[in-house]
């Protein structure tokens, strides 16, 4: 089956309210953002996930995809629907931490498995961890921690750091400081959704900063980078992968060139699984895969690997199978820490231009076999 | 002679360069109908608005029932017993005639109770309904009690205006053209009705219908360009040279 028709079938099934239940297929409910702001991330997540399902033969997973419109209450409603009327076994796909916080605790409390393709807030990694909740992407702090480690290793001594004033933003700066550990030249919280950073750039100019770390997901990052590039300031900029991902990079343009960012994946990681993923994704969709696509792809493969060794009806066995993480991750080595979050390498990437397309190349490793600081708080 | 119920002293109000009221002083005594007449644009509506509280005068004072009310809002003056009818009907057009009359009754009661009740039926039999119905009966609208106000003729709306004023059991009426839009017969009935009403409370009457004015008024004030040029009995006004000049353009 060609993937497009497969997607169409999955969608029709989802929309018609009655998914096709093939024998032995595991029923997966994917809640992700397909409309409104941020839809690009959800679309990539879905496409990566569906690609893996297709490559595995297409009949093992029975996938219901629904759009959460990036609204927590819609996400909760969809989760209710998938659990109550679609009778799914597994939930996955949520991009945003606040939506995950709305859906995950209730879903796991009802005995369902949740595999995170992206969002992994600290609240679900520490005291709020759950044996049925697995984050296949990272723990939210990881990329910021890696950036902190990179800044320290690169010998910068006065970074200026900024993030939006909301929990993920606060976690970000905390994560950065955790592994950087040195002196800051400034620390600023911006408004969520802010589009003009002239004031912050002026503050940076007036400070004695020798580098900049920022976490500004989505359109905020695009705005910041464009305005920074135009300011004449030439301090090195470091950030987590989100503002430099494949989907968003084309809108930033030259302003992003040379920027260092941290990511647990890149398309040039040298392993057979990754090479196949990048090739198949381009063949199927005609564009380069993004981090979100890679995370979706890995999540589906993890799920498929668990199905090979256990049946979902035996929850304990299935959980153990998931936890063994016996699959070929596009990231190379991959294992779960005690709190079901990944232990993995986190890379340093640089934005480059390949022909007409802006993309990243790996220039180093920031952290090796990195887990997260919440492991000890988690009592399962 | 008893003290006047309503007194204005030196009311002055300008809109930009236009002086709508200029040093207007008049009074309304118990038991009388005091008519204010004047050509269009003389400032009659502005005067009423200042008396009733819709407009603040630039200078001058209004006192009512022995109190200085210049700085009181409309509703406080109403609670003191000042009842007004509007030239352009200000009724709740989507509501029935009875509902409009009940509103007045409610206002009169609200003077004591503060806020109207949240529960209970406004139109159920009781004080409110009795007050409203008797006012409607007096103006001859009782059989239209259930009619939606917007379906009334202009004349009937005037009657309803008067009925709402009646429900307040006021100490003085301020009536802005209560005969407007009425036919001859309607005017005559209204004239007869107002004639009897003066014993209940005095009326400050602004009216264009000169037959009615001359039939009713104990005293007349003539307002021209915001200024009262004469006050007196009907005969005195008829004979007044300035009035003749203002109305007829005759040289004195």
């Amino acid at each position: 089956m060609k993937l497009t028709t497969f997607v169409a079938a999955a969608c029709i099934a989802a929309l018609g309210g009655a998914a096709f239940a093939e024998d032995g297929a595991l029923k997966v409910g994917m809640i992700t953002t397909l409309s409104g702001g941020g839809a690009g991330l959800g679309i990539d997540t879905r496409d990566g996930f569906l690609l893996a399902a297709k490559l595995a033969g297409g009949d093992k997973l029975d996938i219901v995809v629904e759009d959460d419109q990036r609204k927590p209450d819609i996400a909760v409603q969809l989760a209710d629907k998938m659990i109550q009327s679609e009778k799914v076994d597994i939930l996955t796909g949520i991009v945003w931490s606040n939506l995950a916080m709305a859906v995950v605790p209730a879903a796991t409390a009802q005995g369902k498995f949740y595999l995170s393709t992206n969002a992994a807030p600290s609240a679900l990694a520490g005291k709020g961890c759950h044996q049925n909740y697995f984050s296949v992407s990272y723990q939210n702090d990881n990329l910021h921690e890696a950036a902190g480690a990179y800044v320290k290793d690169a010998g910068y001594s006065k970074p200026f750091i900024l993030a939006p004033n909301y929990p993920a933003g606060q976690d970000s700066l905390t994560g950065f400081k955790r592994l950087y550990g040195g002196e800051l030249s400034g620390e600023v919280y911006t408004q969520l959704g802010q589009t003009d950073y002239a004031a912050e750039i002026a503050q940076i100019r007036a400070s004695d900063a020798d580098s900049i770390f920022f976490f500004l997901p989505g359109g905020m990052g695009i705005s910041f980078l464009k305005q920074y590039a135009d300011s004449g300031l030439e301090l090195p900029v470091v950030g987590p992968a989100f503002s430099f991902d494949q989907g968003i990079l084309q809108a930033v343009g030259d302003a992003a060139l040379g920027v260092i960012n941290t990511s647990q994946w890149n398309k040039d990681i040298d392993n057979p699984a990754n090479a196949r993923f990048v090739e198949e994704f381009q063949a199927e969709y005609g564009r380069l895969p993004s981090l979100y696509a890679a995370q979706g792809y890995d999540t589906a493969n993890l799920l498929l690997s668990a199905m090979d060794s256990a049946d979902i009806s035996d929850a304990d066995a299935f959980r153990a199978a998931l936890k063994s993480a016996d699959f070929d991750s596009v990231r190379g080595d991959f294992a779960f820490a005690a709190n079901n979050h990944p232990i993995q390498d986190i890379y340093v990437r640089e934005v480059i231009k390949e022909g007409d397309v802006y993309t990243n190349k790996i220039v180093g490793v920031a952290l090796e076999d990195h887990a997260n600081v919440y492991v000890d708080e988690c009592k399962m | 002679m008893t003290d006047p119920v309503l007194v204005t002293k030196g009311l002055t109000k300008s809109f930009g360069a236009v002086r709508a009221s200029h040093d207007v002083s008049l009074d309304l005594r118990p038991g009388e109908i005091h008519a204010v007449i004047g050509p269009n644009g003389a400032g009659k509506s502005t005067l009423i608005a200042q008396i009733c509280g819709g407009l603040k005068p630039d200078a001058g004072r209004v006192s009512f029932a022995g109190r200085d009310v210049t700085h009181l809002p409309t509703r406080a003056r109403a609670r003191l017993g000042l009842a007004r009818t509007f030239q352009v009907s200000a009724l709740a057009m989507e509501d029935t005639v009875l509902q409009n009359a009940t509103l007045g009754a409610l206002g009169a009661k609200g003077a004591r109770a503060g806020l109207p009740g949240l529960l209970g039926d406004a139109l159920a039999a009781g004080d409110l309904r009795d007050t409203a119905m008797s006012a409607l009966e007096r103006v001859g609208l009782a059989e239209h009690a259930a009619t939606v106000t917007s379906a009334l003729s202009h004349g009937q709306r005037r009657q309803l205006e008067v009925a709402v004023a009646l429900t307040l059991r006021p100490r003085a009426f301020i009536m802005d053209e209560p005969m407007a839009g009425m036919g001859t017969e309607g005017s005559q009935r209204m004239t007869a009705f107002l004639d009897g009403l003066r014993d209940e409370a005095p009326i400050l009457l602004v009216e264009h219908d000169m037959d009615a004015v001359f039939a009713l008024a104990d005293r007349l004030s003539v307002l021209v360009y915001g200024r009262i040029i004469a006050t007196g009995s009907v005969d005195e006004i008829r004979a007044n040279a300035e009035v003749r000049k203002a109305y007829l353009g005759e040289d004195a």
Partner: protein, 306 residues
């Protein structure tokens, strides 16, 4: 904080204010002349930005992109006025709010349908990029100076248009007495279409100019729309002068508030708490400003009695 930083921030506030003015001018004109409250004004801003990004991507010329933004948003404005808006003039504000809310839905998702879910690319042209050194040694981006210049000249142009031209006389007449100018033989419905398209074009221009330094994406118009409403309400609805004063006030309050409040809190709080609290308060500041202005002057700073 150094005086230089402060001056730079004032310039930033000014630039932000000028952008808001372009948005607010159309809104306030449309309200003043037609009595219409238009929530879809932000969508016209978005149309301008998307048109500019599309044309810049195709032609490579920024000026051509600006022209396209003006044309596209004016056209979108005119079409919307002819098909929907003109049915709303004699409706109450409630209907207007609802109908234009519906237009937002149509514009936003329609744009996403056409252009996809990813942000578009629009960049500053080379001849406007980079900083210039101002007297006193302030390095300031040339492009932002250009925005200030364009905004202020458009403000001047608007004042001239309203005060001196035939169209302006009609607009002013339309504000005070609709029946009168209709009776004088002015084609009132054409006047309305022109005013609406003019307001739309200004919004589109703002969208295109801002798009070059921000992100061109669906939904970019709504935050700006809300700010523009704050501006015209503070200034007094219907007053162009009020819109200008309100825009600068909001621009400066927002920019300087974000800078000064955290600093102020640092005087008596721990640094990170001060930053968080200060930022929280700063994000509410312009709404507090608006509420204070309205409580003090219920019709805004320059609002007449309507």
């Amino acid at each position: 904080m150094t005086p230089l930083l402060f001056i730079e921030q004032v310039l930033n506030g000014l630039q932000f204010g000028v952008m808001l003015f372009l948005m607010a001018a159309g809104l306030t004109l449309v309200f003043g002349v037609m009595g219409l409250i238009n929530l879809a004004h932000g969508s016209l801003y978005m149309v301008g930005a998307f048109a500019a990004a599309a044309v810049a991507g195709w032609s490579g010329s920024f000026l051509l992109a600006l022209v396209a933004a003006l044309a596209a948003s004016a056209a979108a404005g005119a079409i919307v006025e002819l098909t929907v808006i003109r049915r709303l003039y004699d409706r109450d504000h409630l209907d207007q709010v609802l109908a234009t809310f519906a237009l937002i839905l149509i514009f936003s998702e329609g744009t996403r349908w056409l252009f996809g879910s990813f942000p578009l690319f629009l960049d500053i042209p080379d001849w406007l990029s980079g900083p210039v050194t101002l007297p006193g040694g302030i390095e300031y981006p040339l492009y932002r100076l250009a925005i200030i210049a364009v905004g202020l000249s458009i403000a001047t142009g608007l004042f001239w248009l309203i005060a001196r031209t035939r169209l302006g006389i009609r607009i002013r007449a339309g504000e005070s007495d609709r029946e009168m100018i209709a009776a004088l033989g002015v084609d009132i419905s054409r006047l309305y279409t022109i005013v609406f398209a003019l307001g739309a074009a200004l919004a589109g221009l703002a969208g295109a100019m801002v798009g070059a330094i921000q992100s061109v994406q669906v939904g970019m118009g709504e935050p700006v729309l809300i700010l523009a409403f704050v501006v015209i309400v503070i200034g007094g609805i219907g007053s162009i002068k009020g819109a200008l004063v309100g825009a600068l006030l909001v621009g400066l309050t927002d920019t300087l508030g974000g800078l000064l409040l955290p600093e102020a809190f640092k005087l008596f709080m721990e640094t990170s708490d001060a930053t968080a609290t200060g930022s929280a308060l700063a994000s509410m500041l312009i709404y507090i400003l608006m509420a204070v202005v309205l409580v003090w002057r219920p019709r805004g700073l320059f609002g007449g009695a309507t």
